[in-house]
Symmetry: D3
């Protein structure tokens, strides 16, 4: 299955050794973004992947494309437009100190300024089987919103699979408010086959209600299946984070039209507190593209999400061999 994504390439600046911005002049530059992260991981799993986006026609755009290729993603569908790349600074937390993310201008980025007319969706879609669209596109700008709708609609019409990730960030939506955003999501969902989301996305954003008449332990399952029926979704997946004392655990879940499967929780030990979600999504997409059982998918994806937290930066670089290794030999901490 040829997998593609439509989304933003951002710059991430990270000070070394858990330092705060006032403590150092040294930064590490990574190119990242939901699409980049998922495709990079799928490429490391052996899939053919390509990213559809725009970058400035300058030295930063060239450097970004070099990284995209290094990650194993085809750069053929990356056009040039505008003169800015969005960015964020990640001051890495430690212990009680949270990781602090500070965003710089994203709306005026090459991606943020690119609308439907700036892409050749038809030719692009002819070459792929599944396209991942990140919910950020619905929040960012009018142009990204329209481009996302057009792409999803065209893909759906052509029988290509559409994978959509809610990825709802209140901080990006202060201007429009939730009811505007609800409309956008409702417009997108009918085109989608796979959806990544949480219970809160369904209740708070889409304003669906839990059926309190049924047994509490079944309410989430019923809610999701109801959602999937409304929008004719094949597969819905996401993760839950739980704490027990000072330990944190990650558990993935997945639904098809009939079943609901949850993975065994895995302890999270963070090197980087950003990025497990994209690792989890890549795992689910791999299973989906190769028709694994739900259980296989969710177990693999959860292990991969936990591994993503042990890798610096947002971009998971795990291979199948590495994921399987920690699933089969959880206590081996040195391989030679």
């Amino acid at each position: 299955m040829r997998i593609a994504a439509f989304g933003e390439i951002m710059m991430r600046f990270t000070p070394p050794e858990y330092l705060m911005l006032e403590q150092t002049k040294d930064l590490r530059l990574d190119f990242t973004g939901t699409g980049v992260n998922i495709l990079s991981n799928l490429a490391h799993f052996g899939c053919q992947t390509s990213l559809l986006t725009n970058l400035p026609d300058n030295r930063l755009g060239e450097a970004a494309k070099a990284t995209i290729r290094q990650l194993g993603i085809q750069d053929r569908w990356i056009g040039t437009l505008g003169d800015h790349i969005g960015s964020y600074f990640a001051e890495m937390g430690f212990g009680a100190r949270p990781t602090q993310v500070t965003y710089q201008n994203r709306r005026n980025s090459s991606f943020g300024m690119s609308g439907t007319a700036d892409y050749d969706f038809d030719t692009f879609l002819a070459e792929i089987d599944l396209v991942h669209i990140c919910g950020i596109s619905l929040s960012l700008t009018k142009e990204t919103r329209e481009a996302a709708f057009t792409l999803a609609e065209k893909a759906h019409t052509l029988g290509k699979k559409v994978c959509f990730d809610f990825n709802f960030r209140p901080s990006l939506n202060e201007v429009h408010g939730t009811s505007f955003m609800k409309e956008q999501y409702e417009k997108m969902l009918p085109y989608c086959d796979l959806v990544f989301g949480s219970q809160r996305d369904l209740t708070d954003l889409l304003e669906m209600t839990m059926d309190e008449a049924i047994e509490p332990s079944k309410q989430f399952e019923e809610l999701v299946h109801r959602f999937m029926t409304i929008y004719q979704i094949d597969c819905f997946a996401g993760t839950i984070r739980q704490g027990e004392g000072d330990k944190r655990y990650l558990t993935g879940y997945i639904f098809d039209s009939e079943h609901y499967v949850q993975a065994a929780p895995r302890e999270i030990i963070h090197l980087d507190r950003i990025g497990a979600g994209d690792g989890y999504a890549a795992g689910i997409l791999l299973g989906y593209s190769e028709s694994w059982s739900l259980l296989e998918s969710v177990e693999f994806a959860t292990a991969n999400g936990v591994l993503a937290h042990t890798i610096q930066g947002d971009v998971p670089l795990t291979t199948r061999k590495q994921v399987r290794h920690i699933m089969e030999h959880p206590t081996v901490d040195l391989i030679r």
Copy 2:
């Protein structure tokens, strides 16, 4: 309240990534010192702060002053004298390996060689409301001892608040012995309003005895109140470190003339094993300067002390917003 400190600026050299000195030629240079640490933190809390000290009139002195300003502390009261800055090397420990601090010559530093005649205390005191004096001044040299006494006496006479930190280090007092040091502390305490110290400072250094006739759980409280009465201290504060299994906890306590309040213990996860004490002191001073309740002060100061251990170096850079965030949302480990 305009807050000032009188004390030494030191250089701290730290190898990166927990390396030992033989393993690397790379060092990180920070300018530090009890006064620097507390004032920097208070400046980040929004207070107006200034440091009274001396530095050499050379490139190191200039670099030290640049750092002082960067930390938000006024450098107007930093004079020049001598040609040396005291220093220490901190080899950062990991797991069972302790952090190893190695001091270089401090007695011949610009600060160590500066006596009463080398400062303009009167003009300085006219511009401030509270001055912090570190107990190290009593140990370092004859000159620093005398300067500290003169400053404390003048401040007291002028009705300025004097805050004193025991900070008793046996390693700096091998020459004189404890009985000489006891005299110095006894000479200083009558000028003081706020004191930072521990039970051991009162029993081992001042040779006060616990009243074993009363209930054990009340003995510490009685001892401190007795000490406060003798020297007419308004406020006494400090911290206790406790272990439970392999976990460590920090608890702050504070006394006014009538009450004794202790904070809830907070788990310590170290990035740097040096520096929580100054973070705690800054929290207490903030509360004092703004007339918070004892409980508010001690809870805030303890949280700040724990945060100080999650920041590299001795200098706490926390803001009110950050401290309140971990007090209100203790499980949030990523802010964006």
Copy 3:
């Protein structure tokens, strides 16, 4: 003389060791800008300086202010507005390879979005004697343009000295074109006392013509004096770069209403190819504020400009002592 500047704080990202962006993930972050550079240098010369600008109210804004203070500049007049700081990447050239500067979005920065209403010019002006305004303000946005005009007019009315730097960058003016920009500069110049510029600024931007009737060697002098008369400028200064074989030389010139003085050329050996202009301007401003002779000023400023090229980054950190040392002992290459 209390000197201030009105202008943008930018982030400069520089890869280490002359590497290109594709060759490293490491960047050095500096905060810079014409105002920052000139004020920092004046502060190192012992002047009292302050910067009038806006920054975002986030971690980047805090880090920027810490640097401003470290450089010796007062941060009292730095307000908060918006959520973005403009930036540029500097890939350092070597030999035949030019230094390559790539700008990121500046128009949407906190400074770019701040107009007259976002500053308290009156109170600010009451505290200073001279204000430096960079020509970039005229190019950046409608808001910065209007703020610059208002500030210059108010300062002029109050009898404060206004120093203006043409700093005309075609790349920032592609939208408006030269004739629009000419109008803006013509509107600004009547308020100005000191101006930094070049022959090309007068002929190409202001469309003044050289008087070809007079002796060629006198034409530049005549042109500048004509310009100074029109706009009632006290002092006009700038630099010329000349090549001879593979060597490059810097020469400063300065005009008052009657005289024209040029410094002896000094060889340029670059550590960093960016930043000599601001070093030169700081030297001229120092001489102006202390009423030096034109020759003293221009010689000092040229030496300082050459020194600025031997320091990494845009911000000159030279002291009077250092500048005088290379003027008096040009062959000493090691001081101990």
Copy 4:
């Protein structure tokens, strides 16, 4: 023209800041090799390129392939075999101190152990128009020698262009001696269309003699044309380095069957003393593939060779725009 190369991927380890190995524990790792360097540069010029080689099936092989992709080279024809990558350490020289290269085992590398049977030459050749083969293959091992012959013969038979670089290193040929090596080169040359080499390659290795009967200034030209006639070579090119005082200059030359053209010498200022030859070759190949005039090719290639010395590492990353810029604006040292 689809351009490919057959050759070794090596690791280059370089200490930072001109340090010697005893002075640091820090190394920079680059993946390099004649084929890598030339193809990377051609990819940056916009050509479609691919590398035919083998790497170990381990983490180093994966990392090497990631770099190949980042450089813009297709990694489709990189197979896996063996468990070793050859390497060298480059201690960068400064002034009188030469750059010191120390090779580690190359013969037992994945490439060194791969023979004809380990490649699928036929399918590979079907996808390309020109293949570059480095003379190192003739020296390295019996396996690389045979593979190189088979590939060249097959390419020649299929009418694909074969480009061959003498690249004769005595240090790699101590075992066999020159007469054995002469035979190998004589076996290879009949398959070749383009050849990179020097006068010394023809006289010392192939033992051809200069015709001393003709005018000295014509002898090199006559020699090369004689060589080209014998082996039916279309194009022969190379570089000469000249010193004048303490300056060094690079001049490229190129021959077709009838003409001999030399570029104007360009001054060399080294950031890295390794790598100009591959930059020059990439320039010539670009001109060849686009049928430029000999003069255009040789001028572009020489400028590119000089630029290659201003870039750290062996891999030239120049674009057409950058090369043309230094050809057209040789004195511009800052672009913004």
Copy 5:
């Protein structure tokens, strides 16, 4: 006791800050090897130590010798031969992600190519009291195998103590298979006095069987004593790693001909997951050379092994003072 070792010096390349190879170009270079590690630690304990090995006669060989000397080991017995040093890359694991070691060619290294004729064993043995031989020598090449046998035999004949470490790595023995390796070990053991090994070495490699007739808790003890009797071994020692929840513990054991002593388990907190074994061995050898009680030895060695995991790299740099400090003050985490 003058202690020596016979073995390989390798290069270890480690990316910084837990990065994977694709994420950085920076590597740290250490020189390591079982002999290097043990001798360095013994030298830091105050013993006189020397290493018998060969290195290439080039810049890498010189740099390796400089490190050997820095570690406190005499370099007098390091000869020159060949032109290659074996190496490995260690990508440091974090949390669930294992440390990944990738070996590069070791068989063609200077040590791997050196046989009996390349050493002067007699003169060497005259100067030492005990020689440590690592089992890797038996696996590496025919030459190292023969050299190891000759050395052990000569030492044994001269009455010098021979210490042997099984160090059996299946990955280095894929060519020969276990039965061949069994023969080699059986040939070596009769010359040995001290042996480091595990239960698995005796059962899987030497194919000895546990006596299931006796009580399970006594079977290991009986097995080892049987083994010691067969080969006339004085002392057998090793470590066991145990997990309990997510904690890991290290326990050392030691046998003399009559006794079996085990240390109290110590929790392992890793900075580096490689190297505790050599730290443990150094502790045991120190006790042996100074005739400590078994209990003293095993407690000290276990504490030292745990400390080795808190130090970056394979080479333990602990002193007696440091080991004793964590034994006596296990909760002190800051020394000043």
Copy 6:
């Protein structure tokens, strides 16, 4: 010839990439000192060397000794005393900006506080043939002065060669003044065989006068021979730096009782502006210890001094092979 030195080990802190102290928190730590530099170089030339000095008994002392061993110098004669190591910061200059050295306290260092009673000179002298004493010892403290005299006298009495380096630094002698220092040098010189110095040392410090009656070009020669006769010196050597345009040249000279030989000037291209003098001295000592001709010595030493400027730090690491290589192949800038 077994060569030793008596002198101070210092710490040198150097910011990376020509940065000034305000621009970075990163420093490189080297251990250095005249004795260290000369012995290290001689050790790299193959001589047996040892350093007589004292260091603190702490982690810094241990780290210093590790470096001494790494450099190839025996650490057997390094005792422990005191708790401080002197240091200096070297901000590396570039172009017109001089390298700026800032010293920290040296008088209170372990070496500075060690007097005659703190060394075992007799045993030490029994093991060596020549001892180098640096003139700094005469300036530092009363203790170092007396120790130097005692050592020189004992060595002289035992017939060991004494090599003395004027190394007169006015900055270290501000307390005593020149006439006091003159007496000290006059007391030392009668014990000496080899002396390193300059014309200025003889005229300004020793107050000898040039014989203006003789031909100017012969006056220096006559002066030195007169000096050598007075103090019965075998060998006097030093260097002259000359400028021609913007180029700098180094020329060494050497005198025996009858001859005066000067080397051909060599151009200096600095990586580090500190350290050529010690490289020159090491070259002269090598020639002296192996009875080379004066011309051989002075040519080798001058080439070595020039090489020392191309190596970072004060410590020359050149080998005979490297020095001879640049003498024989001055234009080769890449060795492989």
